[in-house]
Symmetry: C2
Subunit: 232 residues, 2 copies
DNA sequence: ATTTAATAGTGTAGTAAATACACACTATAT
DNA sequence: ATATAGTGTGTATTTACTACACTATTAAAT
């Protein structure tokens, strides 16, 4: 770390909580650090912000390095600046969270960076011990997402383009950590008129195939302005 | 600026949008800068964060310097890091907003800092041109406050300890920028059961004196957990 | 003493939205 | 044939939201 960390070249980093949704479970992408401090520990993807890039660009760069994807939904979360959060001195980090369609990943993400030995999706419910204050950052992210999906249609960022209502419901249940009534969920969700019913159905399932829906982007844009209020 | 700004001593600042409420109007405390860049311009109170203080502490320090008060409600808003936001190079700022009971100020705030020539409360509706990206920061703050008062009782931070329901309503109206129905407002607000009716009335008014209320802190704490949903 | 001006304070009814709840149908695996 | 897991619909009840108009109180002016 000493060598490739120019002294005070940058005094702040960015860290990104990348959420994915798979098999009814929320997952977070963690890296195994290949650098001191915390070499060998699991941590959030993140690095120093370069002098000539905005913070947003730095996050996009990190997202691309770890997923090979561009245009991922991301949003700034909070800036953490505790004096003791980094053993090498006070280094603040601007934390972001990102929501990712896991089916967009052709393969397992290959770390292109030299500071990560591997990158692995971990279920949110079963996280390893993390470097720095990264556990705290993840906790704050999930709180933010939990609140935000009740007034903004960000949930769709986590689903494939075509999805079933059950998948959508499972996603809300995973984020809120509680069961929802199926009938009311469908009624409410369809009433927003932001979903487009497709003439297609699930394939390869051993039960009645569910209808597929996709987001109606024009109506979505309209509703996004006024904000949904999907509560409870 | 050159002299008292040690080179790279700190590469980030904090700026604070301090809101007050007086005579039915929302106000923001602005300083007139006494330093380059933007010497003579109006700007948000803010300064470099010292090496040995947390960001929160830096904000508290700035709040104290400009108001003489401690324990003011404050919350982090967003971190701004555009490459061109500061003429001297990329300096990010962690912006906060604070809510202040104006009646707690014994006198006009006297700037204790050397970087401010004066500090003046400006009505939000009539702001001067501002230094840096501070106008943008204020706009984002008011959006945040507007959203937040609909699910969290932060409005009380802006009112004196004892207040009338009309004052409370005017505050909501000022923040949301629209009129509310008096009866519905009262009904809803009293139904939360977070206000304590006092055996006291307004004094010195030339019309029927209104009853005073204060926040019931025990009930407030309970409700705060579940979050209000005071909307529209 | 009376009037005026200004604001405080109060209730009801209609409408819309959220919730709770029960059953029937379809496909698949064994 | 049966068990299982999922889809798909209707209705009644409760709760929340909206619209709306008059009387009461106080101080100041006459």
């Amino acid at each position: 770390m000493q060598s490739n960390l120019p002294h005070l070249q940058s005094t702040f980093t960015t860290d990104c909580v990348i959420f994915g949704f798979h098999e009814g479970e929320l997952k977070v992408l963690l890296i195994e650090r290949n650098e001191y401090p915390f070499k060998g520990w699991w941590a959030l993807p993140g690095f120093f912000v370069e002098h000539n890039e905005t913070i947003d660009d730095a996050v996009k760069r990190i997202l691309y390095e770890h997923t090979g994807l561009r245009g991922i939904f991301m949003e700034q979360l909070y800036t953490f600046g505790n004096l003791k959060r980094h053993p090498q001195g006070r280094i603040i980090t601007v934390a972001y969270y990102a929501l990712l369609r896991l089916d967009d990943l052709k393969s397992q993400p290959a770390p292109v960076t030299d500071y990560a030995r591997q990158a692995v999706w971990h279920p949110l419910k079963n996280l390893p011990e993390l470097a720095f204050d990264h556990r705290h950052i993840i906790d704050k992210s999930i709180q933010k997402v939990r609140r935000k999906i009740s007034y903004s249609p960000i949930a769709f960022e986590l689903l494939p383009e075509k999805f079933t209502l059950t998948q959508l419901q499972q996603l809300y249940e995973a984020i809120w950590g509680r069961k929802l009534d199926k009938r009311n969920f469908r009624k409410k969700m369809l009433n927003y008129n932001i979903l487009k019913e497709l003439p297609e159905f699930q394939r390869g399932v051993s039960y009645r195939a569910a209808r597929l829906y996709k987001l109606d982007k024009r109506k979505y844009a309209k509703v996004f302005q006024n904000e949904l209020t999907f509560s409870r």
